[in-house]
Amino acid sequence: MTRYAIIRSVVGHVVSAVLMLWLGVSAVGQLGSRPVQRLRRMDFLGVVPVWTFFAPNPATGDVYLVYRDDKNRRWTEIHVRRPRRPWLAAIWNPDRRAAKALFDIAAELTKVSRDSQNQDAVQLSVPYLALLGFVGAHASREPAAAATQFMLLSDHGLEKGSDPVPVFVSHWHTL
């Protein structure tokens, strides 16, 4: 056996072991315990998958983003998703990213807001800043506006028996 073949064989065994380790870490990563979840926050690349699709809390409502400015106090919706998904979405669905992004941001922001002792610190959280930047780009289209505020609302989807309820209201921000 040549030296090259030996090296290849050793590397092959190491990579195979890494794959099994990855599988083991993936299995442990599914546990909801606090230490595991704390470690998961360090996994920025998302190497450890989350296989808990739509569980434990399924998305049973829609999220809406509205904003207003100091010149026009009426809330205006920023339409992030289409009200009806086209039939072709089973094959081609580019709009799902924006809808999912808004849903993820809303979920994280309400969690941060609920868990935080200092509500001012929420303004420095990543989901808050993501929404603020997004709303700011829309609100600044009103030439006379000097400040803006945004709100997240949630409803029960197609069951439109009741109006959407506010789940988060931001501070006022200078444009």
Binding site: S16, S26, L45, A55, A59, N93, A98
Partner: protein
């Protein structure tokens, strides 16, 4: 020898099917380019604030270049061309290895750019592309790659089933109707149908839990039952794509099915051969 050949062919099929998922996902991101702008929901400028490591030091500098909007779009364009090359089989040898490696290296940074907007399909796609890139350099790890795919797929359904079994909404049977009633993942006709048949809605919701938890039985089931389970799994993904609009979920998960089937088949053959040797 025969097993090696069939495993190689199987992993080539996995590669092609997974490339379809990458192709669609990358084209969709390019079709909505504004969502990654600095003032949009998947802004890198904001999401890099998650960690100092993403902002400073050598790693921060690499990401700053790699994930800047123009470079990011170029990366997506490369992923489109790379997946097309793999699907059509027009790249081979060192060029194919280079393409697969670049696609694997770029798989996680694409999702790193923003923590929002991704789903399980993107995770499975990244896992598949990294593992298949490693296989292109080291064909001797093919048995481990096939086993990894088979077990990761079983783990995904099992974890999902257990998480649902722990959820009061899923256990009560209301989750499916709730999801079907949303604009984001719902479907009005399906929602109305579930509302008209509440007992079937409960049965279907609990059925999803049982089916996902029981999926790993595929590893020990006899051939016919195994094929029935796999067929149900493929149908499930097709229904999810149609009803919920999760199109890449179909491709990225179904891509790994051939690896699971071939893994089970080769284990079956091994057991049969051992039995014959004993006789």
């Amino acid at each position: 020898m025969k097993t090696d050949k069939s495993r190689r062919r199987t992993l080539d099929t996995v590669e092609r099917l997974a490339a379809v998922s990458t192709l669609i996902a990358s084209l969709e991101l390019l079709a909505r380019p504004r969502i990654h702008d600095d003032a949009n929901l998947m802004s890198w400028q904001v999401s890099q604030l998650r960690s100092r490591r993403l902002l400073r030091g050598p790693i921060g500098r690499v990401f700053a270049h790699l994930l800047a909007i123009r470079m990011f779009r170029a990366l997506l364009a490369f992923r489109v061309l790379g997946s097309l090359g793999l699907i059509l089989g027009i790249v081979s040898g060192w060029k194919a290895r280079a393409v697969k490696t670049t696609m694997a290296v770029s798989a996680f940074p694409v999702t790193l750019r923003s923590p929002y907007g991704w789903d399980g399909a993107d995770q499975m796609s990244a896992i598949t592309s990294v593992t298949l890139a490693a296989r292109s350099w080291l064909p001797e790890i093919e048995p481990a790659v096939q086993r990894f795919f088979a077990l990761q797929l079983c783990l995904s359904y099992l974890a999902s089933g257990v998480a649902k079994a722990n959820s009061p909404e899923w256990r009560s049977g209301s989750a499916l109707t709730g999801i079907a009633g949303t604009e984001m993942y719902g479907n009005e006709e399906f929602y109305r149908w579930l509302q008209r048949h509440p007992s079937l809605a409960v049965l279907a919701t609990r059925g999803v839990i049982v089916a996902e938890c029981a999926f790993p039985l595929v590893l020990i089931a006899p051939r016919r039952l195994r094929h029935a389970i796999l067929l149900c799994g493929i149908l499930f993904h097709a229904v999810v794509a149609r009803m919920m609009g999760l199109n890449t979920f179909f491709w990225s998960f179904v891509a790994v099915y051939p690896a699971l089937e071939n893994y089970c088949r080769s284990r079956e053959t091994e057991i049969e051969e051992k039995g014959l040797a004993r006789e």
